[in-house]
């Protein structure tokens, strides 16, 4: 039994030695023989594929950049529009002394706000009424309330849902011009318009 196994081992070893040298030259023969044409072709092939890959990457990047730019551009455009609309919306209206009647000249300003509110159905605003320092401190709270309500009624009568407009009054407590002359008083007798909700992206009317 021991003898048989030794023989078997010896036979396997012989076979292995015989097989190895015979195979080796065949497998290495082709590349080992330099051929200028084939080398050049290979080099070109590699270079071509690299260039193609680079071009593809560049194109991809360019497309990406363009896409980003387009998004940014459109965002900026939207922002500009929103800011422009916000500025329009914030335009003050003014009142005569001890009056809460919308002036003829201010009707256009309010019409603009009507259009903005119509173009942006999610928009909700707050109108605050203000007075100059000449009247009575406490009466001015009632007067400012009348002024805010006057603007709201104008907007509502032009088709804006009244529930989208809140009114408050600050009387003479928040002057925008601290002066004590006719010019300051005229500036301080006003309605302010501020956005409560829905003002992130506003459409131009």
């Amino acid at each position: 039994m021991k003898r048989l196994s030794l023989l078997l081992l010896g036979g396997l070893a012989m076979a292995a030695v015989a097989a190895c040298p015979g195979k080796k030259p065949e497998t290495t023969a082709a590349p080992a023989v330099p051929n200028n044409d084939s080398l050049e072709a290979e080099r070109r092939r590699i270079a071509d594929s690299t260039a193609r890959a680079e071009a593809e990457a560049r194109a991809r990047e360019e497309a990406d950049r363009r896409r980003q730019q387009a998004i940014a551009d459109s965002l900026a455009a939207l922002g500009q529009t929103t800011n422009a609309v916000k500025t329009m919306l914030a335009t003050l209206i003014h009142f005569d002394y001890d009056k809460a009647i919308i002036r003829g000249g201010d009707a256009g300003v309010l019409d603009q706000k009507v259009a903005i509110l119509q173009a942006n159905p999610a928009l909700r605003i707050r109108v605050s009424g203000h007075c100059d320092e000449r009247g009575s401190d406490e009466y001015n709270l009632a007067l400012g309330n009348r002024r805010a309500t006057a603007a709201k009624q104008y907007l509502a009568s032009h088709g804006i849902d009244a529930s989208r407009i809140e009114t408050v009054s600050y009387g003479e407590e928040r002057p925008i011009d601290p002066g004590h002359d006719e010019e300051a008083w005229a500036k301080n007798r006003r309605d302010e318009f501020e956005i409560l909700a829905g003002g992130d992206a506003l459409k131009q009317p």
């Binding site: 001890d98 707050r126 605050s128 000449r134 009247g135 009575s136 401190d137 406490e138 009466y139 709270l141 009632a142 007067l143 309330n145 009348r146 309500t149 709201k152 809140e166 009114t167 408050v168 009054s169 600050y170 407590e173």
Partner: protein, 461 residues
Amino acid sequence: MTRALALAALSLAVVAPVRLTAQDTSAVDRGVRIGILYRPGVRPGIVVLTGRAPGLDSLRTIMARDIDYSDRFELITLPGSDSIRLAAAPGARPAAGTGTGKTGGGATSAAGLNYPLYQALGADFAVAVAPAAGDSIVVTVHDVAGGAVRRELRSRLPPLTDPGFRMAVHRLSDRVLEGTLGAPGIAATRVLFVMDGKVYVIDQDGADRRLVSSTDHGAMSPAWAQDGRRFSYMEFWQGHGRLFVQDVASGKRAPVPTTGQALDFTPAFSPDGKTLAFSRAIEEGTDVYTVNIKDGCCLQRLTVGRFYDNLSPTYSPDGQRIAFVSTRPGLPQIYVMAADGTDQQLFAPFDYGATGSSNAPEWSPDGQAVAFHRDVAGTLQVFVLDVRTRAVRQLTSVGRNEDPTWAPDSRHMAFVSDRSGYRQLWIIDLETGRIRPLLQQSGARLPAWSPRLPETAASTP
């Protein structure tokens, strides 16, 4: 005959009560008296004396000023100050023991006064302040004309450094006024006002100004409860007006139920302290409401304006009526109604188309008058309405004068005036026309004069 009648009528007119007839005619500085009906000889003269005891100087200074500010006396300054009294004292007989029957204060209060000398100086009364047993003091009120002690007032004062010292002296001053003329004083009172959106309080003599409410929310329209233990005011909360009631002693405040969801402003306590009337601005307009602050319930609407505003309620002292501002004639004027909102009618007459806006009414504590301000030629002036006759009288004419508030004696009034060049708080005596600045600081407004303050509310502000 007709001439005699005319004369009789004239003398009657002269003799008729001169209540509330003084006119504020010019801007004057502290301590200068003015007024067309001011007659110096009419008021009793008084002299305030003090013993040579440490710490009594400030007491005498405060008391002398209180007596002066009562505008009921001629305060006499002795030439050479104490020297006259000291020179006169040794030979004089003690008067206290016999005058009042009290003997305990003999060592201090009964230092005899040279009555004829004080009489010669024009004094009808002399007030002597002296230390007594323990840490108390005794104030002796001498009736100079009668040559006797009228009254002895004993008091234990807190130390000079105690925050309650000044108010304790004010209280004593009011007792002196009661002991001499039988008239209740206004020394132990304070005035609430607004400056820079915060509520402050100041003693009626201009001392001891303190902040009582400060938040980021602008405050307006402080108002006292009649017990002097609470006050109310409004604060802006995100465009709404919320009312608060604050306890004087603890400084704690609580929002008034049902307020703060709209623009609620100008609170006014009913005299019994159970109800708060106020103005509420909603889209429909501004109207007068009441709320039960005792139970925190029962909002009631007293006026329904719709096309005009109703605001600034003020209760009559009997609680039966409310004066308020209404714009129903086209511009604000003073109206009155029953406390339940019925029987609304014009209160202060005006000339349609000629009289300017009238605002900020406050009913006097004696119920006889309502003070307010009215637009006169583009500026504001303080007016007084006689409740019985409904006659309206212009009180001020120098500069812009607004937001009058009555002292509890119904003859003094604090108001805002720019007569000195900037807006500040002033006090006027309606009988003599004398005015004095209460606070020489710009921006103070919306004053509210307290009732006579109870001991507990005053001691720990």
